[in-house]
Point group: C2
Chain length 402, copies 2
């Protein structure tokens, strides 16, 4: 499946948001040409690293793209990249850009060359000030409601969630702009700030309106799910499980599987609670957890699994990432994970697109070496001759490893 076959995107972006947007579009069939400065951008060596020293972060985020390495400070380099971005074609003329301060990539400069350009600019703040996931998360208040109820210090999240959400929002923006251009002929300058994605993210869960209308911040609630019942338990063999009962059906299943239906029914009157209601399950979350905890402590993970899977309880095991890899290797069925033979790294686990088209996962490709496709792309898209490419190499304007 290649629903975006024929679409060509130029990526001038580093770190997570822009590259993950183009990764997703490339996995759907778009031709993504990634432009990096000679020697690579600031994310070229970002952790984690392979034993070889190559960045696993960079290779994971840039799978299946074509790589061009260009001296972006030289006039010749700028002209090459501008020509690539504005090259004709009904479904080219698409730029994903998170660079700051490159006047020559300004929207009005580029549209002078191609008026129907689609230009998706990923920013930190909407006024252009820089921001990264770790700073915007602090700004929107998530670390203050994360972690232990008794804790006082903020707990940063480890996952750069806002980066990943921004990436997929950017991908959505590119496709909406392509649809508009197909319908009207008009291009677009679409801006998307990481800080806005984070602010909209917490607002879209009702959390800002809650702070406004209820007058203050929600307290931390540890590992509990807010407003319902869900928390972690430890098993007899020191595994941990997460158990959730959002709906009435899930709550019934959990009680039946743990044999506690009568216990919780009997509690209703003395505690004045209808545990069939989410709000009461949340209010009495510590009581419910305290009743269930010995049940888990008396059973191994295997016993819990057998009972819960038979009883259709909503639960999961806490796995480490090494467990995820091991279970992927042992899996008899196709999963979202596969193995790619990554140059300079070797065979290693990689994800395909989670979007399954007509029942199939796509194939994953390795990331390019920096500049691997410099000559190919300039030949194919701009029609440069071998002599012209040779001159550009000799003058140090482009580099290639292909």
């Amino acid at each position: 499946m290649s629903p975006l076959e024929g679409v060509r995107i130029v990526e001038c972006a580093s770190f997570v948001a822009g590259p993950s947007a183009c990764l997703a579009l490339g996995q759907l069939g778009a031709d993504v040409i990634k432009v990096d400065p000679l020697g690579g951008a600031a994310d070229q060596h970002r952790w984690p690293l392979a034993p070889s020293g190559r960045s696993l972060y960079w290779t994971a985020l840039n799978k299946g793209k074509r790589s061009l390495a260009v001296d972006l400070r030289s006039d010749e380099g700028k002209e090459l990249v501008t020509a690539l971005i504005t090259a004709p074609g009904p479904e080219s003329g698409v730029l994903v850009n998170n660079s700051v301060g490159r006047r020559w990539l300004a929207h009005e400069v580029l549209t002078a060359r191609r008026p129907d350009l689609i230009h998706l600019r990923v920013q930190g703040h909407p006024d252009g000030r820089p921001a990264v996931d770790y700073t915007v998360n602090a700004e929107v208040g998530v670390p203050g409601i994360t972690g232990d109820e008794q804790g006082a210090a903020p707990v940063n999240h480890v996952l750069p969630a806002w980066d990943l959400i921004t990436g997929m929002t950017a991908a959505t923006g590119v496709l909406a702009a392509l649809r508009e251009r197909a319908a009207t002929g008009r291009g677009s300058c679409v801006e998307l700030a990481l800080a806005d994605v984070a602010t909209a993210g917490v607002a879209n869960l009702g959390w800002l309106a809650e702070a406004e209308l209820r007058g203050g911040d929600r307290p931390r609630h540890g590992n509990h799910v807010y407003g319902s019942f869900g928390v972690d338990f430890e098993t007899a063999d020191h595994q941990r499980v997460m158990v959730v009962a959002l709906t009435g059906g899930q709550w019934t299943a959990l009680q039946e599987a743990t044999g506690t239906t009568d216990v919780f029914a009997a509690l209703a009157e003395p505690l004045g609670a209808d545990l069939g209601q989410e709000a009461d399950r949340y209010r009495l979350r510590e009581t419910i957890a305290a009743i269930l905890r010995p049940w888990f402590a008396a059973r191994t993970l295997a016993q819990v699994r057998e009972r819960f899977d038979a009883g259709r309880v909503l639960w999961s095991r806490y796995r480490g990432m090494a467990d995820v890899v091991a279970e992927h290797r042992a899996s008899a069925t196709e999963t979202v994970l596969t193995s790619v033979d990554q140059p300079e790294i070797g065979p290693s686990v990689a994800a395909r697109s989670p979007l399954r088209w007509d029942g199939e996962y796509d194939d994953a490709s390795p990331a390019p070496r920096l500049g691997e496709h410099t000559d190919d792309v300039l030949t194919e898209v701009l029609g440069l001759s071998p002599a012209e490419l040779g001159g550009l190499h000799d003058r140090g304007v482009i580099a290639g490893t292909g």
Copy 2:
């Protein structure tokens, strides 16, 4: 701006992922018809709640949609919804569906009525087993690397990050399928499992390959940014700030603003470290933090802000959500936040799309009341007469508040 004007989407979805996909598509101009069972779906009263008892979560995720309330267990109700989903039109015939076990919404049943249907199915696991954000996050190992370095128990994230990423991935999938249908005439069944989004998410950061190639799980690192320098500090007036130096430029700016350039230069030899390199900043993160901590402890937030903003340091303040709302109210410029007058709640803060089209934020609309557009939609899309609508109401097949 309405890049998706003319696109019509039927949403049969609840909780976060499906509704947030359609929220984003609606904010870009698509007509989103949300179908709920009579009385609402299981997320109708999800927390947080307004003082009036109305769900702020539901209203935030369903802004600007049209609401249809139908008895989804009755044959007449099923036929109405099927007719809506498969109604003719070049840019209708799009369904976002996260329901489980509704045979009448199976892809082959619907494509018998409209062969070029675009059907985006949001799932828990790819094999159909249920999952929610809180369970998949545990499965992919994020809670095990979150929180204090000395901690032993997993730390759940509070933000349903995987839900939000799944939502935007679904939106991308819908638009890619629309592009393919426009180009080829073919519809698509696109499946997207929350568990796959989470697995691909951690894989796309290189974290699974790290666990595979380095043989084991990464240790927790508290509030530090992995592989570089970034951590929180407390100011003299007991505010907290997050400070990050990923790039060489950010590290230089931080040293200059705190007057520590010579200190860190002098440390290089005795500690055998080049702090200009991210990896060394990460290795010596506790040392760097210990040197900087008294600098922050001696200054108020205002003093830190003045120095850091002048010196272009990458930093932010930890805000509470009440602070976010207060600063939005005090802001003289347009932001991603606005106020909507939400029926049964009143004026309250709400987010617009973070995608700014040609420099402008879109306008935000309130969420519908349940069933507010039942009659309108059935008249407009299916051409039902007042008499037919009356009969459906009388038989309890549909409900409306309009």
